[in-house]
Structure formats: C-alpha cells, structure tokens
Symmetry: C2
Subunit: 337 residues, 2 copies
C-alpha cells in the first residue's frame, strides 16, 4: 500500500498539517522542517492521493471534452490542441466521444456537473438554447470550440471570412460562374452552421464583385465524398455549368474531383475546385483549400476555460480565429478567360 500523509508526518516527526504545507509549498514552514519532511517524503516514495485531494478541495481537477472526435480528422486535430494545452497543467482530460445523437444527449445531460468536471470543452456542437441554459446552470464553465452560442464563450474560425477568401480567389482568377457545394445547413448534430457561414462569405464575395448568386449553383446533401460526387455531377451537367466549385469541405471537394473526372473535365483547366479544411489528403492531391487553425482552436478553448475557472466567471464571448487560403493546383483561370 502506498504511503499516506500520516505516514510521512509520523516518520518526519511533525503534524500532518505541516506535511500538507510542504507538499503545497506554503511559505509557513521553516526551512529545517521542510527539509526533514522532504526527506521523509523521498524515503517513503510518497505522493499525495489525487482522489483525496479532489474531495478535500472540492474540485475535480479534471476537464471534460465532448467531441465527435473520430468522425472527421479536423476534430481530432482540435482535440489535440485541447490535450496538448492541458498536459502542462494539473488537470486531467476526460474524453467523451460522440458518434450518435443519443450519446451526445446523454453526455450533455450527465457530464456538466460540478462534481464530475471543473470545466467542459464542447467541440463542434452548436447547442440549442435549452442546452446552453443547462450548461450555464451547471455551475461550471463551458467553452465551445468550433461552434458559437450567444450565451457561452466560443472560439471559432472565421468561416465567413474563409468563404470569402475562397470565393475571392476564384473571382480574382476571372471566374464568374462559381458553384457552392456543402452539407445541409441543419443536420441532427448541429454541426454545420459552419457551412452556412461559409456560404454567407461566398455570397458576400460574389455580391461585392457584382457577380450573380444563382440558386441552381447551390447544392447540398449529406456529408461525404460520394454524396458530393453526385451533387457535383448535377452541377457539372447544368446547361450553363459553373467554371469553379467551392466545396465546404475537402472531403466534398474530393467528390467534386471525381465527378469532374467522370464528366471528362480537366482540373484546373476546365474546372477550378476549392476545398475547405486542408486535410492531409489535400496536400497530396494539390487541392486548393482553406486552412483553419485547428490545433490553436482547441488550445484557445482551454485557455479561455482555465481562465474562467480561475476567475469563476464564464462570460459569453466570441473569438474568431483567422483562416488562410492555401493555393495549390486545382485552381486556374476559367477556360474562356
């Protein structure tokens, strides 16, 4: 059995309060006593029991992260930012992976409790107003990463700007007929108001350039390469097909590339394609895309959370992370230009 603080106190010939002070390096201990206690600690290989500490302090010294972390690589990268930032603190990270709506609801109900975690990071889920209210009433700070709610602190990349960047790039190349392809704006997970913001950026860029925003150039479907391929085929067989397609994710951009191949269009000569996310594959395939600060988003989320814990307030806030356009080999001037 491991040594307890009482064993140390006994061996060092001091009271337990003194040992506790040494452990938490309080200045209220004389140098000689400190050394005596430290010798005892070393001799007994003592290290404080975390559970007892938690109970006594009334804190869990634990941060929870609710993440759909396996469904897309970008979530994993954000989680990595969370883990990496927490690793240098005294907090443990408990991971709650969500792959179904049921699991999400279960975690949303069970995890945000004072005696379970000291703070909670929620990645890529936009809570409903009721859920946000539950978070607020839980008494622990909850920070959203890659999502946004007016009642909660949020860190999110600037999708609107990202959409603008991508579209502007295509406009600069001379494109005027630019399609937009994404998953549906409202899915059961509430993932994707992101693609809505990207769409808004797309629209803003088009309007600023005086280019038409055509309803038949907007295609939406389930997430994934295959559905995107089908949608892209529809776009590319329109009587007046777009000369460029902006896909709301790289995965979907892959579907677009496939569709182009099938239809017999060369990329980028006949068709320009821009993705979003900059997944590993994007570099391999030379896909022009928008890169987000994924790791940093998790990092900032944790920083905000730890601050909220320290100050015991979690004021709603919104922090936008910049995005960056990565120009590779799938974009070029339109064929007629």
């Amino acid at each position: 059995m491991p040594a307890t603080i009482r064993d140390v106190a006994h061996k060092a010939g001091v009271g337990l309060a003194t040992v506790s002070r040494v452990i938490n390096n309080s200045p209220l201990v004389s140098e000689t006593t400190r050394q005596r206690v430290q010798a005892a600690i070393a001799e007994l290989h003592y290290s404080p029991n975390p559970t007892a500490r938690r109970l006594s302090l009334g804190k869990t010294l634990t941060i929870g992260a609710i993440v759909p972390f396996f469904t897309r690589p970008s979530f994993v990268e954000r989680l990595r930012g969370v883990e990496g930032t927490l690793a240098d603190t005294a907090y443990d990270l408990i991971v709650f992976n969500v792959e179904t709506v049921e699991r999400r609801d279960r975690y949303f109900a069970e995890v945000p409790r004072r005696d379970r975690v000291d703070g909670l990071i929620v990645v890529s889920f936009t809570p409903t107003d009721e859920q946000a209210a539950v978070f607020r009433q839980s008494g622990i700070p909850v920070v959203l990463v890659d999502a946004r709610h007016p009642a909660l602190p949020s860190v999110m990349e600037d999708c609107l700007h990202g959409g603008q960047l991508a579209t502007q790039h295509l406009l600069n190349l001379g494109h005027r007929r630019i399609g937009y392809l994404s998953d549906v704006f409202d899915d059961p997970f509430n993932f994707t108001s992101r693609s809505r913001f990207r769409y808004e950026g797309y629209v803003a860029a088009l309007e600023a350039a005086g280019a038409p925003v055509r309803a038949d150039y907007l295609k939406q479907g389930a997430h994934g390469r295959e559905p995107a391929r089908a949608l892209a085929t529809e776009l590319l067989t329109l009587p007046e097909r777009p000369t460029a397609i902006f896909a709301a994710s790289d995965t979907q951009a892959l579907g677009v590339l496939e569709a182009a191949r099938e239809v017999g269009l060369r990329v980028p000569e006949d068709l320009s394609v821009v993705g979003y996310d900059d997944i590993e594959l994007a570099e391999y395939l030379g896909l022009t895309t928008v890169r987000q600060l994924l790791y940093e988003s998790g990092q900032r989320g944790v920083e905000i959370l730890l601050e909220a814990i320290a100050l015991d307030v979690a004021a709603p806030s919104y922090e936008a992370l910049p995005t960056e356009l990565i120009v590779r080999r799938t974009t070029a001037p339109p064929p007629t230009a």
Copy 2:
C-alpha cells in the same frame, strides 16, 4: 450546492447507511423504505458525488490510455475502440497523448499508479523490460494494444500473418522479385517491431515459395511518405529492380506510388504495390493493402483490462487479431509474366 447523501437521509427520515444501500441497490432494504428514499432522491435531484465515492471505495473508477493518438490515423481508430467500449461502463477514460519521447517517459512514470487509474491501456508502444517491470509493480493491470511484451497481457494483430498475406498475394500473381520497404525496426518510440514481424511474414512467404530473399530488396528509413519515396526510388533504379514492393504502411506505399510515377513506371502494369493499414486514402487511391481490426483491438484491450481488474490478476497473455488482405487496383501480374 448539490444535495449530499445526508440531505437525502434527513429528508427521507432514515440513516445515511440506508440511503447508501438504496443507491447501490443492496437487497438489504425493505421495499417501503426504498421508495421513501427514492422519492427524497428525486425531490432533491440528488446524485452521488463521484469523488467521494472513489475515495471511499479506494478505486479511481478511471482507466488511463497512453496513446500516440494523433500521429497516425490508425491509433485514433484503436483509441476509438477503447473509448467506445468504456462508454458503457462506470469508468471514465483519461487520455494521455504522446508525441515526444519525453512525454512518453513522463506518462510511463506518472500514470501507472493505484491512486491515479484502476487500469491502463498502452497503445502502440512496446515497453522495455524495465518499463514492463514498472508496470507490473504498479499494482494495476496494464494491457498492451498493438504491441507485445512477454510480461504483460497484449492484444496485437497478427503482423506476421499480415506480411505473409501480402507477400503471398504477390507471389500468387507471379512475382518473384519483391521488395520490402519499412521504417527502421527500432525507433525511439519502439513503435515498429510491427514492421519487423511483417518482414518476418514476408520472408516466411518467400521462403515457402522458394523465392529469393535479397538483402538489396530491403529498404528502411524514417516513417513518412517522403522518406519512403526516396527509398523506393533506390529500389526502382536497381539494375534488377523488383517487380513488386510491399510497404509496411499505406503512408509509405504512397511514397512508393510517387516514386513509380517519377521513374516512369505504371502501376500495376510495371510495378505492383501493396500497403498496410487500409487508411482512408487507400480506398480513394485503390491501393491494395492489409487491413487490421483496429477498433476491435482497442475493444479487446479494454475487455481484457476490465477482466483483470475484476479478477485482480493481470496474467501475461497474447492475443492475435486476424488481418485481411484488401485487393484493389495496385497489384497485377509482373510485366514479364
């Protein structure tokens, strides 16, 4: 402040021991008392404080997972198996991500402690004998997933068989000059005895078929596409180049494909390529590869761990998970055949 067990006891007019019995549905409570207590619990929205429970029980109700989880997609998939299996139990999962040797050593030293976790899953690290000894002395069960050590319970795919499968496939197609490309057998993380086992499978298959095992057909270097590309180029510019290359990972197989393209060899007409892992990209590119039961490996690891915790013994064991050959479009008979 949330209600405590004493609040419930007071409200229900019973002693705390009785409330505790109701919570842990002990049979030693009369039906009427049980209902009275349950009413009080419901009314106060009581739920037991996990930290207090842990301290009292002397268990952490927590499982730790030390994983290099972001460095490769396959690790994430295994971790997913761990998380998914734990989600239906009373255990929390604390994740320790390792990206540097320092972090690994720190976690190996700090995490396997009775008062920290009840059990530990170590993914994709082969411990040294000293490390294994530390694990055993920690007093908590430690299960290796995707690694193996004679002193510890281990779950690992049958690499040898995987290597055999891939090589046999190429032999069946008529290849006799088959190269093997992998990372070095010993790296600082001790990841890769896996590629050694795969190599052994490769050798076994060649020998069984009476095909030559040539030293100049074995190339090793750092993991990653780029180093693999360089190594493959060496292989492909040999005076008598191999007609097929078996790469120890899909990532490295990508490098082989690039090298083939640069050297002007068509795949699979001039060169057959087999990878290992079946990463997402493999399907996209039509890469023939060996698939492992990644999710299942994490799952089995947890099952073994929970059993060891329940029985309070962690006998060394080794469980091999089957592998499967996925034939796609990068393998064909050799050009001369």
